[in-house]
Amino acid sequence: MSDTYTLYNPTVMDHFMNPRNMGDLKDADGIGEVGAAACGDIMKISLRIKDGKIEDARFKTFGCGSAIASSSMATELIKGRTIEEAMHFTNQEVVSALGGLPPVKIHCSVLAEEALKAALEDYLHRHPELAAKAPAAEVVAA
């Protein structure tokens, strides 16, 4: 790709072209689907959770290159974390791990955070016994 000019940095491009964890999880323990009012993107994240830990994560995204890359990166980052850790996940982690996003595209990383939190909420909703213990998800707007 040395001669290729890209809109996004190489990490973002890599996650866009070769997304990690793309797809749906069969029998997911939590599923979150969210939309960005700003541009109309839609992102869906499914989680497999075992013993309070995220064992696996998958995404599907209707959205631009950075939305796809953000969801790919978010699912990568979140795997192996505890629910509590995941509840503190912010879009900034996605942006950093991606090596930055154009200012106008930061909202894509926010969408990934929101999708993850929605999936966690879904999980907690299905397991009310855990919900009391877990901190409320804070969605941080960019």
Partner: protein, 421 residues
């Protein structure tokens, strides 16, 4: 990898013969056209010749009706504001079609802040404006009607000659933005009844850095870039001679090649759209059908369940250069106002792609695009929650409704918590 440039609406390569014509004007004949010595006088002749070439392209009465600006955007600004300010005492009302280029729309918005009012005449689902509706919008205070010849996004050809007749009857100057047509379709300012018309040669193999405004002597026009008395007092600032010279050559070539260009583009357009339509399900052509109402160089498509930027980037990585009117592609995160004006469903506007054809494209290129694009669509649909939800009957298709599931917009509103704009 095959390279297929399908963004002629955004930029075209400069003709080698135009470049050769420009070359001496950089370092050798570098004079300022306002100077009264050899260096200046010499370039005046070049300026005059280029004016004649421009006049010939659009069948202007005289080369004196041709004014050079810096680009199509400035020409639109000059036409709108220059006529508005010149006629301030007569009235402060403008009529424009709803799908004019942002350079027109935003000029009008600016004037609205300064006390003008404007009627935006809507277009139909194909993007065509009804001449009678334009006529009906004219009031005694109207000082200008602006309807573009061809729309930059969806290639709709407006009935400008008919609108021109109505404007002439009512005695209102008529401005026709020909930026998306000049060099690709016949433009005849007299047939159009245009008092003003604009175009820019960089859209038909001329150089960047020069735009053109035709103005018939009947229409009053004042300058909007103030300073010296260049361009007959209509545009201050040092003329960009090399670009103007190259633009003249591009105009001359355009006149000569026009029939060939149109036929070539029409063949490409047919091959490409037929290929896409037969190969890819849930795809829609926006704007008029190929034929007399659509410029042969333009295809504007919406592919359902996937978004435009991803399509664009994957096309690019496969050597195919395209544009998109989707919100993710725009810096303002808004879908093209043209797609909004034709009432295109947001789901389809999101999946928008604009393909504009040119001389160097071949039929084989079109086949390559069809095959490549089919793969891209498959890849992106696999990634898209919408495609999956459509399969499962959660949401329905806009293009080919099955009667199952809710609309995309409803779904998007549900998951985002807000109506999609």
């Amino acid at each position: 990898m095959r390279q297929v440039y399908l963004d002629h609406q955004a930029a075209t390569p400069l003709l080698p013969e135009a470049f050769e014509a420009m070359r001496p004007y950089f370092t050798e004949h570098f004079g300022n056209a306002s100077s009264l010595h050899q260096a200046g006088l010499r370039v005046r002749d070049a300026l005059k010749k280029a004016r004649q070439q421009m006049a010939a392209l659009v069948n202007a009465e005289s080369e004196e009706d041709i004014f050079f600006t810096s680009d199509g955007t400035e020409s639109s600004n000059l036409a709108i504001k220059g006529v508005a300010y010149a006629n301030e005492r007569k009235g402060k009302h403008l009529v424009v079609s709803a799908t004019e280029h942002p350079s027109v729309m935003n000029s009008v918005e600016f004037l609205e802040k300064q006390g003008w009012t404007c009627t935006r005449v809507p277009v139909d689902a194909a993007g065509l404006v009804d001449p009678a509706a334009v006529g009906a919008a004219i009031t005694p205070q109207t000082v200008l009607v602006a309807v573009h010849h061809v729309n930059h996004d969806i290639g709709a050809i407006q009935k400008v000659a008919e609108i021109g007749r109505i404007c002439a009857e009512k005695g209102v100057p008529f401005y026709v933005d020909c930026e998306a047509s000049a060099g690709w379709l016949p433009v005849d300012v007299r047939e159009f009844g245009a008092s003003l018309a604009s175009f820019s040669p960089h859209r038909f193999y001329g150089p960047k850095g020069v735009g053109v405004l035709y103005r018939s002597k009947k229409a009053r026009l004042v300058s909007i870039i103030h300073g010296g008395v260049q361009e007959g007092g209509r545009r201050a600032g040092t003329e960009n001679i090399p670009a103007i010279v190259g633009a003249g050559v591009a105009a001359e070539v355009a006149v000569e090649k026009l029939p060939g260009r149109m036929a070539h583009a029409a063949a490409l357009q047919k091959r490409l759209w037929d290929g896409l339509a037969s190969r890819i399900p849930y795809i829609k052509l926006n704007g008029p059908l190929p034929g007399p109402d659509r410029i042969p160089t333009n295809l504007n498509i919406s592919t359902e369940f996937i978004e435009g930027e991803g399509q664009l980037l994957l096309c690019d990585l496969n050597g195919i250069a395209v544009a998109s009117g989707s919100s993710c592609v725009s810096k303002s995160l808004k879908i093209s106002h043209v797609l909004a004006a034709i009432g295109l469903d947001h789901a389809l506007a999101q999946g928008n792609l604009i393909l504009t054809l040119g001389d160097a494209n071949t039929l084989e290129d079109m086949d390559y695009v069809v095959e490549t694009f089919a793969r891209i669509v498959e890849k992106l649909r696999n990634m898209s929650p919408m495609w999956d939800e459509f399969q499962r009957g959660v949401i329905d298709s806009v293009i080919a409704p099955t009667g199952r599931g809710k609309s995309f917009s409803q779904h998007a509103a549900d998951v985002s918590g807000k109506a999609i704009h």
